[in-house]
C-alpha cells in the first residue's frame, strides 16, 4: 500500500514539475501585463486573447512562424537525406587506417564547437554571399550543423541493421543504392525519426545564428522575433508568454506525428 502511495505521490510530483511551467506559460499568456506584474494571480482573473491577437496584428509573428517552419523543414530534410547517406557510408565501408571510425567523431566535434566561436566567420561568409536576412542563409547554416549531427546519430542505427539483408537484396539484383533505399532506410526509420526530432528541436529553437543573420520579419524566426518583445525599460511578458505558446505548437504537433517512431528510435541499439 505504502509503495503504491509512494508511486502515486512521485507521479504527481513529476507531473507537477513537468506540467506546471506549461500551465504557467499558458495561463500567463491569457493575462494582462498588469495582472502579471502587479497582481501575481495564480490563474487569469480576466482571461484575454488580446496577447495572441497582438502578436499577429502588431508584431508580425505570422512571418516569424512561417520562417521558422520553412527554415526548420528544409534544413532538417536536407540534413536527413545527406546525413543518412553519409552515415550509411561510414557504417558500411572500410577506409584505410580505419578512418571511418574517426570521421563520425570528427563530424561530431563540429557540432560540439560553441556556436559563438564561428558566429562572426559565418556572418561574414553570409555577408559576402549576399545571404544575410534570407531563408537560404539560415537553411544553409542550419543544414551544415544538422548534417554533422545526423551522420553521427544515424551511423549507430545503420550499424544495428544486419548487412546480410542488403547483401541478399544485391544478390537478387538490386543496386547498392537500391538496397539502401528499399531495405536499410525503412528499417532505420525509427532512428531517422529520432534524429529528425532532435534536429527539429535544435533548429526550431536556435537563437544565436538567427540573431546574427537576420534583421527583418522577412527571415526572422520565432525565437528571434520573441526577443524583440524585450524592451529597454520594460518587457512585454504577456506577449512573450503568448509567443511561447505559439512557438511550441509546431514542435508539439511534430512530436505527436512521430512519437511512435521516436520511442523505438530511442531504444533502438540499446539492447543487442
Amino acid at each position: 500500500m505504502s509503495t503504491r502511495l509512494a508511486r502515486i505521490l512521485t507521479t504527481i510530483f513529476v507531473l507537477a514539475v513537468v506540467l506546471l511551467p506549461i500551465y504557467w506559460l499558458v495561463s500567463t499568456s491569457l493575462k494582462s501585463n498588469r495582472e502579471i506584474t502587479q497582481e501575481g494571480t495564480l490563474y487569469p482573473h480576466v482571461p484575454t486573447l488580446d496577447n495572441y491577437v497582438r502578436l499577429f496584428t502588431e508584431k508580425q509573428f505570422g512571418s516569424y512562424l512561417t520562417n521558422s517552419v520553412v527554415v526548420t523543414f528544409f534544413s532538417v530534410a536536407i540534413a536527413l537525406v545527406f546525413g543518412a547517406m553519409g552515415a550509411y557510408a561510414i557504417a558500411r565501408f572500410r577506409l584505410p587506417f580505419a578512418a571511418e571510425r574517426k570521421i563520425g567523431l570528427f563530424l561530431l566535434t563540429l557540432r560540439i564547437i560553441p556556436p559563438v566561436v564561428i558566429l562572426i566567420p559565418v556572418y561574414l561568409l553570409m555577408l559576402s554571399l549576399g545571404l544575410l536576412d534570407s531563408w537560404l542563409g539560415l537553411i544553409a547554416t542550419y543544414t551544415a550543423f544538422n548534417i554533422t549531427f545526423c551522420v553521427w546519430m544515424m551511423e549507430s542505427f545503420f550499424r544495428e541493421i544486419p548487412v546480410d539483408l542488403e547483401e541478399a537484396a544485391m544478390v537478387d539484383g538490386d543496386s547498392r543504392f537500391g538496397a539502401f533505399r528499399r531495405i536499410t532506410l525503412p528499417l532505420a526509420a525509427p532512428g531517422l525519426a529520432a534524429t529528425a526530432i532532435f534536429a527539429v528541436l535544435v533548429t526550431f529553437n536556435e537563437f544565436l545564428f538567427a540573431l546574427a543573420l537576420t534583421a527583418t520579419p522577412r527571415a526572422m524566426t520565432m525565437p528571434r522575433g520573441t526577443a524583440t518583445l524585450i524592451g529597454r525599460i520594460d518587457t512585454d511578458w504577456a506577449s512573450m508568454a503568448a509567443a511561447g505558446v505559439i512557438g511550441a505548437l509546431p514542435i508539439v504537433f511534430f512530436a505527436l506525428l512521430v512519437q511512435r517512431h521516436l520511442v523505438r528510435g530511442l531504444t533502438m541499439g540499446a539492447v543487442k
Partner: protein, 437 residues
Amino acid sequence: MMHSSRLTRRSVIKGALGLALATTALTTLGLPMPAKAAGKKVIIGAFADGGLTPFKEKIIPLAKEQGFDIQFLEDEYGVTLEKWFADAQSGAGQYDLYLLDDPWVPQFGAANVLEDLGAGGIDGSDKDWIGPMIDMGYWPPQKGPRVKGFENAKPTLICVPFVGDLQTLTYRNDVFTGGAPKTWDEVIAKGKEGVAAGKIKYPVVFRGVSGNPIVTSWYPVFLSFGGSFFDDKWNPIFNSAEGKASADFFVGTMKQNAPSGVVEFDSDQEGAAILGGDAGAIIQYSGNALKADDPAQTKVAGKLDFGVVPKQEKAIAQMGIFIAGVPKSAPNKANSIEFLKWYVSAETQAKLSEAGSIPVKRSAFGIAKPGNRLIPVALQQLDAGALPRPRTPDWAKVEELLGIELNKALQAGSGGGAALDTAAKQVKDYLTTAGYY
C-alpha cells in the same frame, strides 16, 4: 492489432501536409503581410521601448502620407548595439536609419561609420533644438573633454535627436499632497507618512541591479548632490565629497525606504512597485511614466503625478534620448536624410508632441494640447537641468565597473563612499589601459 512503426511515404506526406496547413492557418489569422514598397523606402532599426509607441502609432502613418515607405524593425535592446555596429562596420547595408541610445553615439562616431548629416542639409545650429539634445549628435563633442585621437577634429553632426527622453519624478499625489517633493528629505519624510497612513508600502523605489540599472537610478541623486563624473582630462572625480554623500544616501537611506528586494530590482520590478501602488515615488524615464494614466497598466491611475527630480543642491536629471544616425552603408541614404529633415521640422515635432512623445524641438513643447501631461514637466526638467552621460565610447565599461561596486554597497546597506573610491580606481586603471591619459 499492432501499429506499424515504419515511417511510410504516406505518413511523411501526411506530416508535411499537416505542417503546411497549420502554418497557413496560423499565418493567415489576421497577419498583415508587409505592403509592397510604394514610396521612398526607409528601413528604420530601433530597440523595443515604450517611448517609441507614439512615433510608431501616429508619426509613421503621417510619414506614409508624405510618400515615405517606412519599414520599422524593432529588436531587443540588449543586442541592438552589437548588431548595428557590425552592420555599419561590415557595410552590410541592412538599415537606413538607426535609432540609437545616445551613449552609443561616441562608439559609432569614433568608428566613422555614420553619415555627416550637416552636409546632408540638416541644420544643427537651429535655435529651436533643445541644446543639450542636439549637442549629443556631434562627434567629437563640441563641449567637454574629448577622447584621444579626436582632440583637434572638427565636430560633425552624425546624429540628430529623434525622441526626447529624460528622467523625471513620478509620485503619488495622495501621499505628496502639496505637489512634487522638492528635496530628497521631503521624499523620505512624506513617504514615511504615506506608509504610516497605509497609502503606500515604501516611500521610494529604484533599480538596484548591478550595471546600468543601479547607475541610472543613482545618477540623478548624484547630480542633485552636486557631483561631477570626470574632469576635463577624463580623470574620475565622481568620488568627490558630494559624490560620496550621494552614494551613502542612496545605499543607506534610500534602501531603508525601498522594498526589501530592491538590490535585485530592475525596471520590471520598480515599474510594478509604482504602477501597482506600493511605492510613493520614483525617478524614471518616460517608458513606465507614460503608463501612469492607463487603468490597464496601473492600479493607481489618477493618483500618479509628475515633477522635477528632487534636489539636494540642484535638481538635475539624467537625459537619455533616442538619436538617429544614417549608416554610410544605408541602401536608401537620400530617403533617410529627407525623412529626417521632414521628421525634425517644427510641424512634425508638434505632431509628435500631440501624439504623446517628448519632442526634440522647443517649439513643440508649447503646443496647445500635448499628448500627455509628462511633456510640460519634461520641459521644466530640461530647464532645471538634464545632463547626458559622459561622451566616451567606453561609457558602458565605466558603468559596469561602477555598477558592480555600487551594487555591493547596496547589498551591505552602507559604504557607498568607499564603493566610489574603489570604482574610481578601477575606472582610472581601465581608462589608462585604454590610452586616455
